[in-house]
């Protein structure tokens, strides 16, 4: 390839890059992309339930990612976007379930168990501490030794 053609190709490539950047203008906003990514990492894919919306390749996940993007572009806040999905799919779409009556056990159960364990442990420790020390009757031992060594006749 001649230097001139090489230069032409490079220029064409640069032009192409610039054009594609210009086309995707709103989407190249890094902070916006990061925000979407964070949001999608917090949402569950309904089809493959152990994957987040960000990780899943399921067609529904693609649709929902597009929906999330559309809403975000329209200026909706993260909470509004989450509310949009919860209204349609329920709390299940959230990887962080909201704290409410039905989720108290889920949120606070582990801490309750921990507290229970601490109480049991405290009880055991206290009982050990207050238990009477085993009696070491030194005098009695000496007397017994004497009796063995020198039994009374």
């Amino acid at each position: 390839m001649s230097p001139l053609r090489l230069l032409g190709a490079a220029l064409a490539f640069a032009a192409h890059l610039a054009a594609s950047q210009a086309l995707a203008q709103p989407a190249t906003d890094l902070a916006f992309e990061q925000r979407l990514k964070r949001l999608e990492a917090d949402l569950r894919c309904l089809v493959c339930q152990n994957q987040t919306l960000a990780d899943s390749n399921a067609p529904l996940a693609e649709d929902l990612r597009r929906e999330v993007r559309t809403l975000a572009v329209a200026g909706k806040s993260d909470d509004e976007i989450r509310a949009f999905l919860v209204a349609r799919y329920g709390d299940f779409v959230l990887y962080r379930p909201p704290v409410k009556g039905t989720t108290w056990l889920l949120w606070f159960g582990p801490f309750a168990l921990l507290a229970l364990g601490a109480l049991v442990w405290l009880g055991v420790v206290r009982r050990r501490r207050t238990a009477p020390e085993p009696v070491h009757d030194v005098q009695g031992a000496v007397r017994a030794r004497a009796l063995i060594d020198d039994p009374p006749t």
């Binding site: 309904l46 529904l60 349609r88 329920g90 299940f92 238990a131």
Partner: protein, 184 residues
């Protein structure tokens, strides 16, 4: 440990056993639950409105409001959906009884394929509306095809069935509910 009074020792023995029993009970119940069935927040809420073109007459637009005043079923289907074939004979039977109109939501499908599919397997639907991009599906909380909704006269979703409709679901849940809603 022999010094511990009897009630306390009982608690120490039976307490953990009771907790274990509770855990076993939860796990046992969990064995018979389908993790794919997510309770829909849309039940007992107004059905999300749509205005969509029908499959067989693209210039005809059908809206949810057209069905106000009657009980109807919305069945989400697609020609690419394999398990839709499982429930299809049942829907055909149901359609023959004329008990309740079944509206099909042709979800993320192509019209020629969808029409061919109905010709091949029979058409149980009063009509099918076309949701080509799945946007209405999202509004209805659809995440797996097929899904079936029961909508009452006031346009409120009263029941959602996820997956192929079974004979049991139809006879024990859907039909009794439809009869009850029609009387209401």
């Amino acid at each position: 440990m022999t010094a511990a009074p009897a009630p306390r020792r009982n608690l120490l023995i039976w307490g953990p056993l009771a907790l274990f029993g509770l855990l076993v009970a939860f796990l046992f119940v969990g064995l018979f639950r389908d993790p794919r069935e997510i309770p829909s927040p849309l039940v007992d809420r107004p059905a999300p409105a749509f205005s969509l073109a029908t499959l067989h007459a693209p210039q005809k637009i059908v809206s949810t409001s057209d069905y106000l005043g009657q009980v109807w079923l919305l069945n989400v289907w697609a020609s690419w959906c394999v398990s839709c074939r499982v429930e299809h004979p049942l829907l055909m039977e149901l359609a023959k009884t004329n008990v309740v109109p079944i509206v099909g939501l042709d979800y993320k499908d192509r019209n020629p394929e969808a029409k061919a599919w109905l010709e091949q397997h029979g058409n149980p639907y009063a009509l099918s509306v076309v949701d080509a991009d799945g946007r209405v599906g999202i509004d209805w909380g659809v995440y797996g095809v097929p899904e079936t909704f029961v909508v009452d006269k006031a346009g409120v979703i009263r029941y959602k069935h996820i997956g192929p409709v079974t004979v049991e679901a139809l006879q024990n849940t859907i039909l009794p509910l439809v009869q009850k809603l029609k009387r209401a």
